[in-house]
Subunit: 349 residues, 2 copies
């Protein structure tokens, strides 16, 4: 078989040392005489030696691989995080094992099992919504893990994220402060997605705090895609009275909504204000620019990597990290036109 692949014993023989010493020279250079180490290094280089990961993992009980279980890579927001995660892991000699589940909890469980089976030393999950079996498996195999994008209210699971509800409240307040009273919401699918549910709840909270309720038909739930956003916007603007402000649960839907307005000749923000969530690269470039909540996607990926790396190295780690999000106000939001009766605060002015 792999006749072309030199093994550790080949390196050892060439360097004139035992396999044990060769192993030490390569993995823990400090525990070997410099001269010996040089001989081994030289032999390894000459032979083009590449250690056999599986053998190493079996013997050392460490795979140097980190798994990530994400909904999908089709959402640029996750792709960015994964990119940062992978990059940071690579810097420390770790490799990324990637699994996605398309928001299907059964698939997620299976994917997780697969990653554990492959020996992932740690696993990153998105959000807090996970099958109890997943947590049970993680416990059984003593696999460190961390949740990103959300904060775990129960405090039982290490997490790195931000408060989706509070962030949504801030977005909604921005619109309320502009004088809006008639709201529409374009939501992502709430099933198996705590982030969407939290954001939706945040919108409701903010409205309720000002005495407003969100009627069921003011909320349209759609999968993430530009086309869904467009279609949802069309629906919303067909209602009477139509909303003066539409809160979108993420930027993809919001951009779809803006596109729909442009197509339908609806002025943004003149006729309707639109907000997003995530702040994708393109959101700043649109005309009008999208008012949205900036989420530190890159930082999220990097922090997850650092967390697991630290934990595996036995360093101290914070099990709860809240990252800042920032409301970015751009051209897609403004005060409602006069035809919509101003609320009490504005009547005062």
């Amino acid at each position: 078989m792999n006749r072309g692949a030199p093994k550790l014993s080949d390196v050892a023989r060439m360097a004139g040392v035992s396999p044990a010493t060769a192993s030490r020279a390569l993995s823990t250079p400090g525990r070997v005489r410099p001269e010996t180490r040089a001989r081994v290094d030289h032999a390894a280089r000459l032979l083009g030696y590449v250690p056999h990961g599986a053998a190493r993992a079996l013997a050392s009980q460490r795979s140097r691989m980190i798994g990530a279980v994400i909904p999908t890579l089709d959402n640029a927001i996750f792709a960015n995080s994964v990119n940062a995660l992978q990059g940071t892991l690579a810097e420390s000699g770790y490799t990324l094992l990637l699994g996605s589940h398309a928001y299907n909890p059964v698939t997620e469980l299976q994917v997780t099992r697969e990653l554990i089976e492959r020996g992932a030393d740690g696993i990153v999950f998105v959000g807090t919504d996970h099958d109890p079996q997943i947590y049970r498996m993680l416990a059984t195999f003593r696999t460190p893990y961390v949740l990103i994008w959300s904060l775990d209210p129960s405090g039982r699971h290490p997490c790195i994220g931000f408060n989706n509800r509070d962030a949504a409240i801030r977005v909604t307040r921005h619109l309320l402060d502009l004088g809006h009273r008639r709201f529409g919401v374009i939501s992502g699918l709430t099933a198996h997605n705590d982030r969407v549910r939290e954001r939706l709840a945040g919108v409701r909270d903010a409205l309720r705090a000002r005495g407003l309720e969100l009627s069921p038909q003011a909320v349209v739930e759609r999968p993430y895609s530009f086309a869904s956003g467009q279609q949802a916007m069309r629906e919303l603007m067909g209602r009477r009275p139509s909303p003066t402000a539409v809160v979108c649960i993420n930027d993809v839907l919001a951009i779809g909504a803006i596109i729909e307005c442009r197509a339908a000749g609806i002025d943004v923000p003149g006729d309707v204000s639109i907000t997003g969530f995530d702040d994708m690269e393109i959101s700043a470039q649109l005309a009008p620019g999208l008012t949205t909540m900036r989420v530190p996607t890159v930082e999220l990926g990097r922090a997850a990597a650092t967390y697991l790396l630290d934990r595996l190295a036995g360093r101290e780690v914070a099990t709860f990290t809240e990252l800042p999000v920032e409301l970015v106000v751009r051209g897609s939001t403004g005060s409602p036109q006069l035809e919509s009766p101003p609320g009490p605060q504005h009547a005062v002015r």
Copy 2:
């Protein structure tokens, strides 16, 4: 150590069989009496047995992991392909090992080494531009691989892709046929990127075939980002005479260009026609819609997975697969205005 994790011998004992039989029952159910298999399955389920991937890989010389080496996940186009790749692999019980290199050949070599070290049974690469050492390593370790997104002219490497040059020729011809004679090009970085170089060459070929040359200052080379596209467009439109058609080497740059035109009050396609390449989801939604070359990103990922899976299973595989690309004409291209002198063909009309 892993005291919580049951091993094969535990399953075997519980089922009252030898480890060998338990192994067969789980991996090759056909080679075991149904009754025995049931006992083993039952024991495995009861114990929550998860095979130890590294041990299995070591013994069987198969890791059931496939690696992918890509430039970056920040480009949605690659993210889509990787998503499809991962999904297809998962269906066959394979897991994806992901590495990216940000167009740095040194990083690419290192990442590849890492994937081989982790035991990837096969590896997917993007494009044809790779360090000879990479191919040497693949040969040494007898690691099957496949290149995607490009066609290998030398025929030495298995590939699944399309002819970037021909595709660019088709895009350019479309503009020529509309009557354009003054061209600008917004290119991606050509270093370590055969796709960009080929597309650029295609544009030149098409122009030359109609007696036109691309002057050096008509080509602006920029990294992939909306902002670069904008900036490049600004530069291009500052030249005198300004181009009536701008060919962008991918959609990200093209969208940036369109955005710049909107901001600068330049009418598309009235004042200038713009084309992209890739057909991202958003390209269809813009106003005007972007004329572009549709690339089968999902199919690319799926086909790569299928290729490697087939090869690993010992099935016949085609080492050269050309996938169709399609010119999608939308609103961003039109005939040049009269102020630009019509070319000979048009003079005839």
